[in-house]
Each structure stands twice: as structure tokens, then as C-alpha cells.
Subunit: 487 residues, 4 copies
């Protein structure tokens, strides 16, 4: 099973925009970073970059479009990245920027300062970047990319602090929004999380001498590093040799970790808040079965992301679990869409229904979320064409009705099915016998909050479901975005 975040209809999914990874204290650190980024590939599949530092060779970097495995395994690339200190980044390129110059937008970003070089990789999104960028250009900064994250480097260049660590603090105090940052100087590996801790960041021990920072624990596993702890919201760690220095550069705040990391973004074998992500997802299925029961013959996941919740639904409901939809595992992003002539023949490139199994059955399909809804319609068509008697959709998250501004690629609000339709209207539009979502309280329970969501003090950022944005999206508001009216 390969139950990660990839999905046969990727264009109808929310997309995490980045994964970050850093290593200090072991020879050939960039090789570990490559492995770590490979394990984080589900967080960003369009491009990746690695920077390393070696006393004899200085800072070196390589940035490439495509998968980590296709770029950062070649000797001609890796041999240019020597040293025992290295950081890296995987990303989605946002719509439209994958053109001739976009390689400039691939992180880590690098700056040469009078006290030495510094590379930075950023996961998240700055909500005041447009305003900062305008100000910096007016003061004489030359931007090399269209990425908002580059602001951090220029803010550092303008800082009057004497050390790079202090300049990072200075810079991050100026930015707003969600950010987990991994940075490196010639001697230090640095990790920071924003005050709300929206995006994840964890620390691991690598052998006797090394340390790693990673978006998720699964990337510690791949390099054989031991998971030590999460970097806390608002914390900055500076690692040099065997010393880990922790400070709190920001004003204190109540944490609001992204709940969608539990639903879909993170890998099922990662650990968040001390719990297996797989187990949280299975528990979502259990909650879903309790909240939205239905009589049926089979519970089938929409592969691969619906699998853990489908297992939980089956176990709670007693309805047998089955692989009703099979995914072509050799599917790559490079397969050209067939011509109309061929498509009209009924080609099914990505998924195939296990028709001998489905025929005449009442089928419950468990999927992780509904974004535009277009995928759900296609899957329903396939299942009915194969002769299913009934089709019931069960969704492992509440209706996605609001865009995310904290580092996730969401369609604009008008494209979100749940922003314009009620649950019944969605059911009819998709064309299934029933469609049910888990409640927000149910989701909180599955994520370990036995009492459900405390509206006065919610533990997670759930803005995509609730419209409750913990940091005001100021750039977007300036562009005209309408916040949810106060209730």
C-alpha cells in the first residue's frame, strides 16, 4: 500500500506547498538532505533545492524541477554539494510561474552578508509579503525571484544586528503569517516556527554527532535519525556541534496547528503531537461511521488517501473493507492526456474499478475531502458504470468552504463546492445516493480532543472549514478578499 497524499486526481486536491529539511554534523550532509526531501516529496513535487557548506568549497547549491529521486541522486549533482552542513526544500510552483525564469523561485534562498553567507528554506506563507516587498524595493533591494519568501533574506540584509542568528530573528519579527524555517550559516543549523506553529517542524538526532530538522518525522526515519521532539510554536533553535540553543523571539500566542496536516498533508507514518497520523485517520473513519451510518455491502477507499479512514469506517460499522478501485501504480505525471478521439473510447488512465467485486453491490466510498467536487463525480460515474447498486460517499473532513492563506494551494473561494452549495445540493450535483461529511467536532475528537472543538479557544487552525483565520490575511484583504462576517 502506498497511502500517502498523492491522489489520482491531483488537480482536485488542496496542495501543501513545501517540505523543508536540514542536517548538521555528519559527512556528506547533502546526501541525508536528499533522502529527507525524498521522504517529504508528498509536500512538494514540482521542484527541489539543496544548499551545502564546506570550509574548502564554500556554499554550493543545486536547484531543479522534478522529483528528488531524479535530480538529487546523480553524482554530477551531489558531488557539487560537499560538507557536513546542508539544508533543502521541496515545493509546488504556484500557478503560472513555471516558466523560463522560475528556477529562481526554487528555494533555499541564499544571501551573502558582511559576516558570511546564509541560506534559508521556508514552509508556509507570509500574509504581509506584498507590502514588505514594495518597501524593500523602494529602499534599493534587488529581488531575484517572485517568491515572497525572498523578503526574509532582504530583511536580514537590512538588519543592523551583528550575527546572522540575530538578523534572522529581526527579519522574522517583521513578517506575518505561517512559517516554519530551516536556515544555515557556515557553522550553524537553525530552525524556527511561527508563534502559532501552523506548519510542522521536528528535530532528530543522527548518530552521535549529527542533528536533523524536518517537516515531518517520516523523514527522520528514512535516514535512521531518532525523533527527539517537535520545535515548539514560537521557538527558535540554533544547533552548533552538540549544543542546541533554544530561544523564544516572538510574543507568546496560543498554538493553532493546521488540522489538515492530520487529514491529508502529512504522511500516515509520521507522528504529530505524539500520535500516529495513520491512527488519527483511522479514528476519523471510526467517528465518521458513528456520525453517518448507512446500510451497505462494501466499504471502499478512494485510493490512496482515503484508505486509513475506510479501514476505520469498516471496523466501526462491521461492513467489509474491499479494494473496489485500483490505481495504476506506474502512473506518472508525464503521461500525456489522450486525444478526444481516444478519450471518447472511455479511456481510464489513472484508476480502474474492480468490476467483478463491485457489480450489484451497495458501496460506501471513503475519500479525504471534497474540494471542487469534479473528482467525486468521475469516480461515481466509474462505480455506477461497473454496476454498483448504490453509491454512498463518506468524507473524512468537514466541507472545505474557505481558502487557506498559510502555505496551501487552494482554489479561490468561488471554486470550492462547499462555499456555494449545501450538503444536499452537493449530493445531487455529484449524483450519489448519499453524501456525508464528518463534523468539525468529530474531526477534533479523532485528533485527540475528546471534547470536540472549543470555539473560544480552538486548538487547531481550521480556517478552511470554519473561516476562522488566526492571522489576518492582510495582502489578500488589500486585494479584496472578504472575511467571514462576525457571527
Amino acid at each position: 500500500m502506498a497511502p500517502f497524499r498523492s491522489h489520482p486526481f491531483d488537480d482536485d486536491k488542496l496542495k501543501e506547498e513545501c517540505g523543508i529539511f536540514g542536517v548538521i554534523g555528519v559527512a556528506d550532509a547533502s546526501n541525508f538532505v536528499a533522502l529527507g526531501l525524498h521522504a517529504l516529496q508528498h509536500r512538494g513535487q514540482e521542484a527541489g533545492g539543496i544548499v551545502s557548506y564546506h570550509p574548502d568549497h564554500g556554499f554550493n547549491s543545486a536547484r531543479r524541477f522534478g522529483y528528488v529521486r531524479d535530480n538529487f541522486t546523480k553524482p554530477e549533482v551531489m558531488d557539487t554539494l560537499p560538507g557536513s552542513l546542508s539544508i533543502g526544500h521541496v515545493r509546488y510552483s504556484t500557478a503560472g510561474s513555471k516558466g523560463a525564469t522560475a528556477i529562481r523561485d526554487v528555494q533555499p534562498f541564499f544571501g551573502e552578508f558582511s559576516m558570511g553567507g546564509c541560506a534559508i528554506a521556508h514552509n508556509g506563507n507570509l500574509t504581509n509579503a506584498a507590502a514588505l516587498r514594495r518597501e524593500l524595493i523602494e529602499r534599493g533591494s534587488i529581488f531575484q525571484s517572485s517568491s515572497d519568501s525572498e523578503c526574509i533574506i532582504h530583511l536580514m540584509a537590512r538588519s543592523i544586528q551583528k550575527t546572522l542568528s540575530e538578523r534572522i530573528k529581526d527579519a522574522l519579527r517583521r513578517v506575518e503569517g505561517a512559517f516554519s524555517v530551516v536556515a544555515m550559516t557556515r557553522t550553524k543549523l537553525i530552525g524556527v516556527r511561527d508563534p502559532l506553529g501552523v506548519r510542522p517542524l521536528v528535530m532528530g538526532r543522527l548518530g552521535d554527532s549529527g542533528w536533523a530538522l524536518s517537516s515531518e518525522t517520516c523523514a527522520l526515519d528514512i535516514i535512521g535519525a531518532e525523533f527527539v521532539r517537535e520545535i515548539e510554536p514560537g521557538e527558535m533553535v540554533v544547533i552548533e556541534g552538540n549544543k542546541v540553543d533554544s530561544t523564544r523571539p516572538f510574543a507568546p500566542a496560543k498554538p493553532r496547528f493546521c488540522i489538515f496536516e492530520n487529514v491529508y498533508f502529512s504522511r500516515p507514518d509520521s507522528i504529530i503531537g505524539g500520535r500516529s497520523v495513520y491512527e488519527t485517520r483511522r479514528q476519523i473513519g471510526v467517528e465518521l461511521a458513528r456520525e453517518t451510518p448507512v446500510e451497505a455491502d462494501l466499504v471502499c477507499p478512494v485510493p490512496d488517501s482515503g484508505t486509513p479512514a475506510a479501514i476505520g469506517y469498516s471496523q466501526e460499522s462491521g461492513i467489509p473493507y474491499a479494494m473496489g478501485i485500483i490505481r495504476n501504480q506506474y502512473m506518472g505525471r508525464t503521461f500525456i492526456e489522450p486525444t478526444d478521439h481516444i478519450r471518447n473510447m472511455g479511456v481510464r488512465l489513472k484508476l480502474n474499478v474492480n468490476r467483478a467485486l463491485i457489480k450489484g453491490k451497495r458501496v460506501i466510498l471513503v475519500d479525504d475531502s471534497v474540494v471542487r467536487g469534479t473528482t467525486s463525480r468521475k469516480i461515481k460515474d466509474m462505480i455506477l458504470e461497473a454496476g454498483a447498486a448504490e453509491v454512498h460517499f463518506r468524507i473524512a473532513s468537514p466541507p472545505t468552504a474557505w481558502p487557506c492563506f498559510y502555505g496551501v494551494d487552494t482554489p479561490e473561494r468561488s471554486k470550492l463546492l462547499a462555499a456555494t452549495m449545501s450538503e444536499d445540493e452537493m449530493r445531487d450535483w455529484i449524483g450519489v445516493d448519499s453524501l456525508k461529511f464528518i463534523s468539525l467536532d468529530g474531526l477534533y475528537r479523532a485528533a485527540g480532543e475528546a471534547a470536540g472543538r472549543d470555539a473560544a479557544n480552538p486548538k487547531f487552525c481550521d480556517a478552511c472549514f470554519s473561516g476562522d483565520y488566526p492571522v489576518a490575511p492582510s495582502d489578500k484583504i488589500e486585494e479584496g478578499f472578504q472575511m467571514k462576517a462576525a457571527e
Copy 2:
């Protein structure tokens, strides 16, 4: 889920050597062949080839190393393959031959005869090819490849028959062993299965005017073709326009279909003998649970091929099913093995244990087969390192103790764990608390033979388990292979 035949430790699996596909009667037939081969990629991942015929452009071919999706989707390749008649082939290159000349070994093979051209794609293995090749060279034939399948073309060239169809019959009557063949002339699509029907071949209807031949039904699904029927053992079909002509060129024989297609080779969404392969595999799990019960907390598949049997085992035993091992879905064949330095850190490139789930649990691991056993040891190490209390292996096939000579890449006999050890010895060598295989009778029951295996008249070829070879491997015997002593 992507529960096909791929496996994170592919070097410890039996490998099907080929998939074949052909289409007649639709525009751009080669595009359909490319899609069909893509759906058959699990049968051969090293190389592929497509031949097409167009009245204005004659026969054209393209042969490439690598995945179908990476080669046969490019316009610069597909535009060279016009016409409404096309066949194709995917294959493994056998050990050592993937060098400068090996592209010559990639099928389909092509021959120009006085009555026109003919292309042939072959799935299976000829057991008298070495002797035939010697004879043909002595009579003046020039071989272009090291492939035994090329004999068929030269036997056709020597035939005195007036039509290509008759020459194919002439040639195939001379060969021994296992073969499913798809061939094409300028006007006809031809399919043949050997008298025992060891390898599969099915026929489908494509729209109103077209026909397809395929190794498996899942490749009919991808192009929207309707599954019509299997080509029968010993049958030859010649398709031209809307006419399907069926003949029986060979002496009658009792069919012996390869039982390992049910266990591992075929895709779970294919239909064999009227049954879903997925359902057969789930039933194997059910039989396995009945034959080899054990007390435990979790039933976990070894991904991806153990999944259906694990589901069946869980359902029969009542022990919860869980994803205890997670596969990195971005794993490609191109990831370079880490250096020793890095490996010693404990790198786990391909699989990761869901440690929060496994810790302290008694785990049943369900895998499809044990070949060399090296993989089983590595998986056991990972599970124990993650803190499992007990590890019980349950294998969805009997011990693999004999090599296959009918188109499957098996290690030589001395490398097969079950050829040199008893079940208890294997358990100790792998180092698990228990190791149990399904019985041959149990496997036959799961495959639909309620009475189990009839030793006097077995329905399947099960030589890899039983040493009972339905066709004498004459080339191998000449090389010194020892058959099983008569009992």
C-alpha cells in the same frame, strides 16, 4: 492503494517476463497499444516496443528501454507509428543483456517476406529454442538478437506456406514450451496460445469496428474495450475487419494455466477464468487463516502485493487489519543505493514501519511468496526494531522450490530458500516466531477448485511448487538441469 505486483524488494520476487497487446480497426491504433502496454507494465518494466502498419507509410516500429509512460507518450515517437493496426510488447531484459546491443532484443520482432511483412510479440518461453537456433544458423539464417523468440520469424521465413497465417502455424508447430503470441500482417491481427495455455491471452471489442488482444483484462479496461472472452489453449484467432476466424493448429492437450498468475503476476483488477484476481487473492487469505491460525493483535500486509490476502486473513480470523508498513510511493528505480557510510546510519529507502502502531503488538505479516528469503529477513528486522512483541509470517503461496522455464525469471534452484530448507529451518533462518505457507490444495481451493489439486490431472501449471513440469525443458536438461525424481 496500488496493490499490483511491484514490490519494494523486487530482486527477491519472481518476475513475469512479458506483456503483449494488439489492436485492429481503430484510427491511431498505436495509441491504444501504448495505453494497453501501460496497463500491463507490471508484466515487464525494462523495455517496450510497438509496431504499426499504415498503407501509406508501411510498417514502423519504436523500441525503447524504460517505462511505457516515459517513451510511448511523446509525440516524436507516437507520430512515427501511424495506422489502424498495431501490436506491442513490454519485457524484462534478462540478466546481463542490457548492454549496447540489447535494444535488438526488444520485441516485437519483424520479418519481411515475399508476401509482405509480419511482426510478432511473444509472451512465454520456448524450451527448445537453443536447438532450433543452431539448426537455423547452419541453414543460413542471420539472427539479429539474442532472444529465443526470434526463432519464430526465421521458421516462418523457411516455411513453404503461401500465407503469413499458415506460416505462423508452421513455425509454432515446431516450437515447444509456453507461448502466447500476438502478431500482425498488413491486414490481420493474430493471436495464438500454446496447447497448454500456460500464459494468458484475452480478446476485447473496441467500439463498433475495433478489436484488441491482451495479456490481461485490466488492459482492455484502460482503453474502454469490452472483454469478450479468453483465447483458448491451443487456439489461433485471425482478425480482419469484423471477422474473427478461429482454428486449432495444434494437437489437443489438457490445459495447465500458470497458477502463479493468480498469486502474484496478474493485476488484482483482471479477470481470470471468470473470477476477479483480487477475489481469488482475498480467498487465499481466507484459506490461509483457516490452515494456519495464530493469536495476534494485527494483520499487516507486506505492501503492495500481500494486501488482498491480508484483508482475507483479517476477515476470516477477526484480527484487525492495519497498515503496519508504509511504502514510499515516490520510490523509483533510479534512486541510487546509498553509500556504506550512509547505509550504516540505518537508511530505509523503500519501506517505513508505522512504529506508533506496531510497538508492543503481536503482528501477522502476510506476503505473497518467499523466493530467496532475503526480503523477509529485512522486514522482520524493521518490525522488531520498531518494538513488535511477536512476528508471524503467513505466505499466500506454497514454498517455491523449483525454477520456472515457461517465461518467468526465477533464480536457479540452489538459490530458492525452499529448495534447501524445511519450513522450520526457513522460520529459524528468517528469525520469526512462526512462518507458515498455504498448502497447494488450499491454493487450488482459493482458485476455484473446491476439491483441491487432482494429482492425476492438475488444472494448473504449478511446477514452481511441485516440480511437476508439463513440458519437458529440453534445452535446460541438455545444460544439466535435474528434473524431480519420479515418486
Copy 3:
């Protein structure tokens, strides 16, 4: 200066179709073959192939489209070609065949016989190949290429001789036309020239232990081999160890070496018949100046092939030599033709006139030949546009009025300017003040025949000028080609 055969308007030149090279008796023989082919690149720029033999690794081959320097210098290619015996070939692909399958047409060809393998590389053209091919296919041979040269391998396979050398003789006695052949078995390097010796072939000594066979002496120079002698017309040499065995397999005939090798095909630093090709070409310029004097200010070559004759013309006439036309040396075959929009601006991709030099001058332009005449018109336009007062073309060969059927790519007869126009008509069509060709007698004198051409017993093949074909082009006659009427 780079005065080889390349020419900025290659599509208006006759094209030699092949160069061949072989080496025996030195380690890494294929590396020497690669260097030799590089020095013969002017004889065939579209594709190349090398075969080598090593006792431990057998025969290996690599065939590629493109330049030798781009393919046969890569370790991943050359490492697959071990051994101390190797042959190679460079070629033009003839019109239309550079498609998906054309790599099959790249020589050397290889055949596996009962007494071992044999590889063959052929320069020239067989005039009875079509008839031979028909016969061989009817008897059961499978052709793998569209190349006529493949007939030789199949004729060998049908031979009843016991040794490969004897089978080569058998095969070559059946073919007609022009051929220089280099072949290799597991132990022998073999060279053969047809009875008329139309195409060149020379032998060289490589260190103490090695031998080389080459189309031209310039390729011996590049590997530091000493030029020993030409293989004689009708001779076959078989080299093994230090023994060179010479035989005469064919009926005796009067030699007819291709005179165009002197005019254009061979490199100026090669030696033919004991004379420097450069010196012959300079002497052509001297004869041309004597035969076709004109008053002018400058003698300018059309670069690069007209250079030696222009030097000779200048020296004989006393008119200063000057570089009036400059060629862009970075010109590659890959530069895309400009769009009409850009072309209409007057773009000159390949040549540029040295306008400050040309303006107001009476210019003699010396070119090697006139084929279609299209190039001559373009050059005339450029020179006049730059302000030349007069333009006089002097051509270093007689009018090209007949196609070559002996291994040169010529347009069909109706496309040859001299086949349809008188000299005066050509002058007017090109639009220059005068146009003069060297006489056939003058060309023979420059090539060392003081008495000019002996019509009863001409020393050279000059069919392209005279229509006197020394071997009847039987395949072409069957297709309808009209020979020159007897006079």
C-alpha cells in the same frame, strides 16, 4: 583554415556516402576506430557505428545518429566496445530513411555463422542489390535493414565455404558495382576493393603490433599510424597477427578510381595515388587559370572547398588571392531556419561577404563544382549586393551532367543544371559576368595524367561528367534510367 569537404550550402553538393576504418593488434582498438572515423567525418555526417571483439566479451556494437565526436567519445559508449580488433563506419542516411527504424541501417552489419561472428562495413554502392535482395528473401532470409549492403551478410550465410574469409569472397563475387569493404572476424581484419577500385582503401602500420585499414590516409595520421600502401583494385587482404595475406578473388579489370575524390570528396591532407590531394586541387586551379583567364582584381574561394583551387588560380594568374567570403565557423546543422519574417530582413546565417574588401572590385569566385546551381545564385547575389563591379565564376570540375550510382548521393539527372543547360545558359541563369568550367582533359592533367583523358582507356571513373559508366547500373536501368546514347 578548414578546407574540407563541408560547404555552407551542403544541400547543393554531391555527397560521399561512407567512410570505413578498421584496426587490429592494439589494446582498446575501438578508440582508434573512433578517432579514425572522426577524421573521416567529411565522408558521412549523419550516423556512425563501431563493432569490436574481445575474447571475454564477444562481439559488441554501438550505432548512433550524429557526429563521431558526440557519440563515440563517451565512456558509457566506448566502455562497451572492448578488445584489440574493431571496425567502424560513418554514413549519410539517404533521403527519407531517417525515421524511427533507420538506426538499423547504420553499419557495420553483423552476422552470426556456425563458424563464428563476422562484421562488415561497406563504402560504395551495389548496382544489382535490388535483384539480390528479392532472391534472398524468397529463399528465407530475414532482412533487418533497408540497406543494400546487408545483402553481403546474407550471401555469406548462404555460402557453403568453411571459413568466413572464403564466404566473404563468395559473397562479393555475386555483387556488382563499387565497393571498398572492411570486415572482421574474431581473429582477422579483412579489406577488399572491387575490381575497378572505384572507392579508396589504404593500409597503415600502427606501432609494432597493429594494423589499420582506412578510406583515406588522413585518418591514419590522426592515430599516428604510418601509411603503408593502398589496397589495390580487386585485392583482398586478410590481416592476422603480423601476417598480411593478399589474394585476388575477382577477374582482372582496368582500374577506374573515382576522379571526384580528387575534386571534392577526399580531405586535402590525404594522399591519393602518391600525390597530395591539396596539391592536385591547387593544380586544378593552375589549369583553370590557363584555360579560362579573365581580367580581375581579386581571386576569392567559395569557402571552404574552393580554397586550394583558388590559391592555384591566383598563383598562375598573378591576381591577388583574398578572403572575400567569410564563413561562420560556429554554424551547425542544428540552427533552425529563420521565419519568413526574419528571412525577409536579409538574414545571412552561413556566409558573410567581406564588404569593405569586395566593394568596387572585379571578383573571380572559385568553387569546386556546380550541381543544382542554386548556391551559385545566392553567392552571386551576396557579392553583387556588397558592391562588386564584376563577378566571374570559375569551377574546379567539368559540368556535372550525370548521376553517380557508385556510392555518391546525387540528385536525379533532371535536377542537374548541366544536364539541361549549356554553359552560356548556366551563366545567364546564375546571372554572372562569366562562368567557366575546367575541361575534362585539364582535370586529368591536374590529377597527373599529362596527356589528358584517353577516351579509349580512361584512368578514372568520370561518369558524373562524361556519362561513361564503367559498371552498368542494372537496378536503375530496370527502374527506367536512360544511359547515354552511344556516340
Copy 4:
């Protein structure tokens, strides 16, 4: 003939570091820039870049390693560069910087300012760049490249001027050294030459609406543009629509154009100071024959750069001109150096001697310059090995005894043969019968200064010969470079 600046032993030549080109006022301007850069390829072969601007698509850029013809002819590259305003650059990468990040060093550089974007391409070298860079970094600029030219963009960003043209002036007033600059804003094409006019820059008219700026006139020819005039030393032109605005931003100075452009860098079909470069070089040969006569049988150029001077030497001396050394025109930079084993056989990859011509002759070899002298030795060896009776070197420039700091890649002083040896010592070290250089006065005469060099007011920059640096190389002096002692 291809008599440009390339040379078979490029590592023993001074190297021009850049060529620049810009176009305004025609559709698809970047296509013209690609053609212009192709014609300037001899000025920089390692990498190239093009920027274009289109009102709908903004600024776009493409930067690539390798030849223009291989990169900027592909539709997938050129289609990303729309618009009627475009500039480009070709360059050598200086030693050691061609690593993973060096594509950042490829110009044009681009900056986004509050009043819009600006791209800049620079030919030359700034002698105070290191000091400027230190200062800018301290003030908060982030450098993206290791190129000194990037200073210009950051100086512009710090300027308080309101328009980009004024900011360019501001920036260039701060830099010292040699520079010809082509820049573009959204509406303007801008050209500037430093006060001494060390590097060339010319202007051309392209059709009715367009203008071009180019390093040399030969690149105007290729696009069919009419040569209008040179940009004058110290001049800045701003072109918008049909208006060409000329200003003089710098303090007046006496021009010192680089005399080596006449000797070697510029193409022979370019026009400098109203004279054909070819004619100047031929005249150098004439002067050389007068100054350094010797009895001999042949005058041979060292191809290709010695050709025009060899023609002049022959014409003045009456000794016949001949092609004694032939260059392999298919030589590319990609041919791997042969192994020692092969080299010891005497391989000659790049040049071949026309031995039948040379044997027994007294040969004058004309080369453009002597830098390290290693090439001269190799050529002498080849000529003697071919049996020449005497070898006389004649050099078309004075002894190169000082490095250039104005945009030419010269070895450090200790590596220059003429810096450490007298003419006689050089003759003996190279091992020839005589070695003579043209005098500095002779060179000035050939370049049009009938009276030779006026030491009080030299017309050219001739620092590489004289040690007389017109601009103090301040960064180098800070590093320890010793200027010539005052005489």
C-alpha cells in the same frame, strides 16, 4: 575558410570575455538577438543569455551554457522571449566558476525597481568592482552572482534618480575600467561606452522601424541591418521609437581602443574605425614581411587566425602561400582527450600537417600571437616530424608581456612567455630556426597610424604589449599586482 578567432589550441590564446547585442523596434526581437549573438560567438563560447520585454508578458529571460545555436534556436526557449525589445550576451566563464551555481553569473542581469525593470549586459571589466561590492553588501545589497558586473544593478538600486536612464548614468559614473554596456527598460534600448572606448560598440538600422546595438558590425550583417556608426567613447545613446538620444555622461578623455581587437578578437569581416579587420590583418602580414624577411619556400598560416597575415606576408615577400596545416573542422569542444596509451601512439586530434607539401621545404609559419608558447612548440614538432627543412615563426603581434585587466582572460604575468624570456630565448625554447614578432610601431602602421605609435599620446590601449595601463587596475594592485616601473 573560417578565419575567425577560434584556434585549435584555445587554451594558449587570450580570450575575449564577452559579446553584447540588442534590438528594438521589430517583432520577435529576441530572434534577431539570437542571430546577432551567434555572429558574436567568437567573443564568448561558454554561455549566453537573452532578455526580452513584451507589454503583455513582462520581462522574460533565458540563460544557458553552450553555443547560441544549440540553445537559442529551440522553439521551447525562443517562445518564452516575446516582444519587440531584447538584449543578449555571450561570455566565457572564468576559470573555476562553471559549477552548480554559475548559471547565475550568465548575463544579462536584471533588476526590478520602483519605476520598472531594467536588464543590463556588460562587455569589459570593472577595475574597482571588488571595493564596490564590499561597500554594497555592507549597505544591505544581496548579490546573486559572483560577477563584478552585478555591481551596476545594485548601484542603480541605490540611486535616487527618478528614471532608469539617469540611474544607469549614476551607476556607471561610480565604476572604473573598461565597459561597453547594452541595457533595456520597458521602452528603451540603451548603449554606453566607457570614456576611453576600450571595448567596441556599434549601432545599426534594422528595416524602417528597428535599431540594433552590437559589439561588432559582422553581427549587423547577419540580421541584414545597416551599419550606421560606432557609439563613441564616453557616449550614451538612448533609443526609443525612431529617436536616438545621445549624451556624454562622463568627463572627457582621449580614446584608447583595444588594439588586440584588430589582431585577434574581432571577426575579419567586421569593420573597425572605418577599416576592414581582414585588411588590417593582411597589412600586418605585409609589415611583418618588411620587418622580418627570411628566405623560404612556403608561407603557411597557423589555422585559422593566422590566415590573413599569412596572405599579406606571402604577397609582400613573393613566397608562395600554402595550406601546410589542416584543421579538422568537425573538432568540437566535446572530444575527450585520448588516454595516455592512445596519446603515446602520436594522436593528432586537432591539426594535421599536409606532409606531401611540407617535406623538405623551408616553411614560414604565421601565427597571431604567442601567449604561453606551448602551442608553438607542438606545431613546430608536427612540422619537423613531417620533414620540413627549416621552420620560421612570424608573429602578427608584439610579444605579449603583460596581462589585460579590461575584459580579456589572460594568464597571470609569470605564465606569459614574453614576460620571462628575450626573443632569442623564446626562439630556442620553442626550438625553431627563427622567431620574429612585428614591432609595436609596425602594428600601429598596419592599423592605420602611418607614423607608428606616439608614446606621448598612443591611440590604442596596448597594455598587453607595453605595460602602459590607461586605467589603474586598483583591485589588482590591492591584491599585489606590480605595475611596470616608470621609465
